[in-house]
């Protein structure tokens, strides 16, 4: 009961008592884990915007024109681009988690490579989707 001792004596505990976030170096898996969660939360609200966009597109001619026009404005394009990237990142990150769930890819080289691929792959996939969108118009 080393913890109770310092409480009884009213002396400050030897800090840090537990490993703190700041003492860790930034690793690829650590950052990509954060990106996975952040992209998930961003997609949560992004899907709300997409549903709103679907409602606008299907409610009246003026609303449909507005929804279509907004998608082409710089802010609209930024949102759609960000949504695409978030979706691709979360999707590839999800595949990475599936590989881990299957019990594979835990060795230091492989897990780092997979985390790096999540970022590289998501950016590449986003560019490919946008190239497809712009080239087939």
């Amino acid at each position: 009961m080393a913890q109770a001792e310092h409480v009884a004596r009213k002396t400050p505990a030897q800090r840090p008592l537990s490993p703190h976030l700041q003492i860790y170096g930034w690793t690829w898996t650590f950052v990509m884990s954060g990106f996975h969660r952040a992209s998930g939360v961003a997609l949560y609200f992004g899907l709300g915007l997409f549903a709103l966009w679907l409602v606008l597109l299907s409610s009246s001619a003026e609303c449909a024109l507005f929804a279509y026009w907004f998608m082409g404005t710089p802010i609209g394009m930024l949102i759609v681009f960000g949504f695409t990237w978030g979706l691709m990142h979360h999707l590839i990150g999800g595949i990475r988690h599936f590989i881990w769930d299957a019990g594979c890819g835990f060795d230091p080289v492989m897990r780092r490579r997979m985390a790096m691929f999540t970022l590289v792959g998501s950016v590449t996939a986003t560019i490919l989707v946008w190239a497809f969108a712009l080239l087939t118009r």
């Binding site: 949560y44 899907l47 549903a51 409602v55 449909a64 979706l87 599936f98 712009l134 087939t136």
Partner: protein, 141 residues
């Protein structure tokens, strides 16, 4: 069997009793498993939907409406949206369980999560019904 019944120092196996009573919400491994199933079904559907929307994106609002009201696309949109909404509801619940510790805020956040997902689902349903109506109407006009 409750988790407390095990001897100290002996790790609790979640597989012995289906992980009942374990986890932040006491749902055990149920949410975890559901999330995996939703993901593996949803992944190919969402990828196809992304390509369909990307293909339709530069063609004007009328053409986009026609693409969305093409029956296979309408059905695929409905399925992928349903899977994504269920997935994101469980996902945000996990985020809330991790970060929101104050009990009142925690329950407020859970209610917000459920309400938000319900609203997104209803908006999608409205749009799907309109798209379906368009596909019928377009044949008469």
């Amino acid at each position: 069997m409750m988790a407390n019944d095990t001897k100290p120092g002996v790790p609790v196996s979640v597989f012995g009793h289906g992980g009942k009573d374990l986890g932040s919400s006491g749902h055990g491994v149920g949410h975890w498993w559901t999330q995996r199933v939703l993901t593996i079904i949803g992944m190919p559907m969402v990828l196809v939907m992304v390509l369909v929307v990307a293909w339709a994106s530069g063609r004007g609002p009328g053409q986009m409406l026609l693409v969305f009201s093409y029956p296979p696309v309408t059905i695929l949109l409905g399925l992928s949206m349903a899977l994504m909404i269920m997935h994101m509801r469980l996902g945000l619940q996990q985020v809330i369980e991790d970060y929101v510790t104050a009990r009142c805020w925690r329950y407020a956040a859970f209610i917000f999560n459920d309400a938000f997902c319900a609203v997104v689902a209803m908006m999608t349903l409205y749009a799907l019904i309109k798209f379906s109506a368009i596909s019928v109407l377009a044949q008469f006009v």
